[in-house]
């Protein structure tokens, strides 16, 4: 764990806090990334009292096990992936809607 020190704080052996900068990641991306980890963790998200642009995410292991460094690294990568999805979706989301609309358009129109 000590190789990643900031922005991660170990609160307890099975509980840690990750600070996420909302100037880098959209709330939607943070939420989607957290969702994927709800199989192993209870996840709580709160806007930081120190800054509106920071979100505190607290992970608490469901089975009392220590949270591994590997898990945190995967979460960080997942955040990046979710942000890429968010950004690319802004570029092509409307095209997906057009495709579905065109595909299911009544044939007599």
């Amino acid at each position: 764990m000590d190789t990643i020190t900031f922005p991660i704080t170990l609160i307890d052996k099975n509980k840690l806090l990750v600070k996420i900068d909302l100037r880098i990641y959209a709330k939607e991306s943070v939420n989607a990334a957290c969702y994927k980890f709800t199989n192993k963790f209870f996840v709580n998200q709160q806007i930081s009292s120190e800054s509106e642009s920071v979100i505190n995410v607290i992970f608490e292991s469901k089975n009392e096990e220590n949270i591994s460094e590997e898990t945190i690294k995967s979460f960080c990568n997942e955040l990046i992936d979710q942000q890429v999805r968010y950004n690319t979706n802004l570029q092509f989301g409307h095209i997906r809607d057009l495709i579905v609309e065109e595909a299911f358009k009544p044939v007599n129109q």
Binding site: K36, V84, T88, I99, V100, E102
Partner: protein, 474 residues
């Protein structure tokens, strides 16, 4: 460098440490190195590069007029979803709950062979057939389930003849299937089924010892012998490929997939569908006795699939059905309806089940839930409700709204979405609501692992494996 391009809708995953896998809604896919992926999303790829041309050929990006590409993708998407056009074509009918087997994983409240309490009446049967023919589908398949429908063969005959009579006026493409353990079928019954073009589908769980553990008959210890004897009799009357077989994986099957596959080969089959148990209708203590972690099934499945590929390499043509279905979705533009794995889910709109008492459920699992007094997936009763109220009612609309992977949490962004499907009944019974929770879903774990494995095999570009895969889907 010319890097002006429009990125089109796609989904992605980090496939391994060095590559990303990208797919789009019509099932096209491409692997990109981490470096190329980064360049691609940052619009730093040269449009004259081979890699960009490959991406464009999959319609994941374009330099053409977007409206034209939208039209093309819409046509492909419509083709992929064309299974929706016909509405409900699979109609499962339960003539009785009587059965002469005691399968260890049976989830039906089966009745003893001489207990007629749960036999369908003629009035209900007539209303079932009437309801079925109100479906707008040009194809109607009536599949007899049970109990074992052969224990009430008179009712099977009644329904077949009633349906044939109705069809004189309705003129649909009508077919029948009987799902039976075959042990009670006599040559006379088989000749009748042959005459009425009723296919026979049975269950074979593996070699003798395993089959007898999983599917014991009530009145003999010689289940497998009786089964094999009757399969021979049916084949003699109807031909070599006249009985299809399904396997179910119980706890006892684990570690024996090779023997199970060998038994299918020995019995003259050229395909198998390696199927996990869905133990959601069981009481907890019972579940512990016969169920197993999904990871165990996945490992066995992958070993089994690899063994089947080796069989093919060594000259035995043999198909694994689930892989074949997924490969067809991955490698071809065609639509593949499969009630248990499609989006929107097939519940009610592709298949429905009519229980012995006339109750109509969106899926067999809905019928199982009703055993525990949960009638959430009951659409109505053929003796009381109209076709319109059951199949165009608020309930089915609501179920389908929750059954599209395109908008379910996690599925909507999942790279395997174009090949996967939703199962609101399973989500409801295992996870408490129809939307479900993918991070803890066994079905999701299974599909992710199997599709991932297939992509690993495709990525090898092994001409022999590719030839085998194409032989399965052609």
């Amino acid at each position: 460098m010319n890097n002006k391009y429009q990125i089109l809708p796609f989904r992605f995953v980090r496939f391994n440490d060095s590559e990303y896998l990208l797919t789009n809604d019509v099932g096209e896919y491409i692997f990109l190195t981490n470096d190329d992926f980064e360049k691609f999303i940052n619009k730093d790829l040269d449009t004259s590069s081979t890699i960009f041309q490959d991406i464009a050929s999959k319609q994941i990006a374009t330099t053409d007029n977007v409206n034209d590409v939208v039209k093309m993708l819409a046509t492909k998407f419509r083709t992929k979803k064309s299974i929706l056009r016909d509405f409900t074509c699979l109609h499962m009918v339960v003539p009785t709950l009587r059965c002469n087997s005691s399968c260890i994983y049976c989830q039906v409240a089966r009745k003893n062979i001489d207990d007629h309490e749960a036999d369908m009446t003629k009035k209900t049967a007539k209303n079932v057939v009437k309801t079925i023919f109100q479906s707008p589908s040009p194809y109607i398949k009536i599949e007899f389930q049970g109990g074992d429908p052969s224990t009430y063969f008179e009712m099977v005959k009644f329904i077949i003849e009633e349906a044939e009579w109705q069809n004189l006026f309705k003129k649909r493409e009508l077919g029948f299937v009987i799902c039976t353990n075959v042990t009670l079928l006599t040559p006379g019954m088989v000749k009748y089924l042959k005459k009425h073009k009723c296919e026979i589908s049975t269950s074979l769980d593996g070699p003798k010892e395993l089959h007898n553990i999983n599917r014991p008959l009530q009145d003999t210890i010689h289940t497998h012998e009786k089964f094999e004897e009757n399969i021979r009799m049916i084949r003699k009357i109807c031909g070599d490929n006249s009985v299809s077989a399904l396997m179910t994986t119980s706890k006892y099957s684990l570690g024996h997939f090779k023997e199970i596959i060998d038994e299918y080969v020995r019995m003259g089959y050229n395909n198998i569908f390696l199927r996990a148990l869905n133990p959601y209708g069981f009481a907890k203590q019972y579940k512990e006795k016969i169920a197993y972690p999904i990871e165990d099934f996945i490992n066995n499945y992958i070993e089994g699939l690899d063994y089947i590929i080796d069989l093919n390499k060594n000259g035995t043509f043999f198909i694994e059905g689930y892989a074949a279905l997924l490969l067809k979705r991955i490698l071809t533009p065609f639509a593949t309806g499969f009630v248990d794995l499609q989006s929107p889910a097939g519940v009610g709109i592709a298949g429905a089940i009519y229980d012995w008492d006339g109750n109509v459920y969106v899926a067999d699992e809905g019928r199982m839930l009703a055993r525990f007094n949960d009638f959430y997936f009951k659409l109505g009763n053929v003796n009381e409700d109209s076709y319109q109220s059951m199949f165009n009612g608020e309930k089915l609309h609501n179920i389908i709204k929750n059954a599209c992977t395109e908008c379910l949490p996690m599925c909507s962004e999942c790279v395997y979405n174009p090949y996967c499907g939703a199962d609101p009944v399973r989500n409801y019974s295992e996870q408490g609501d129809m939307v479900g929770h993918r991070p803890t879903s066994d079905m999701c774990k299974k599909n992710t692992a199997i599709i991932h494995h297939l992509f690993e095999l495709l990525k090898k570009h092994d001409p022999e494996i590719n030839r085998i895969f194409w032989s399965w889907i052609n």
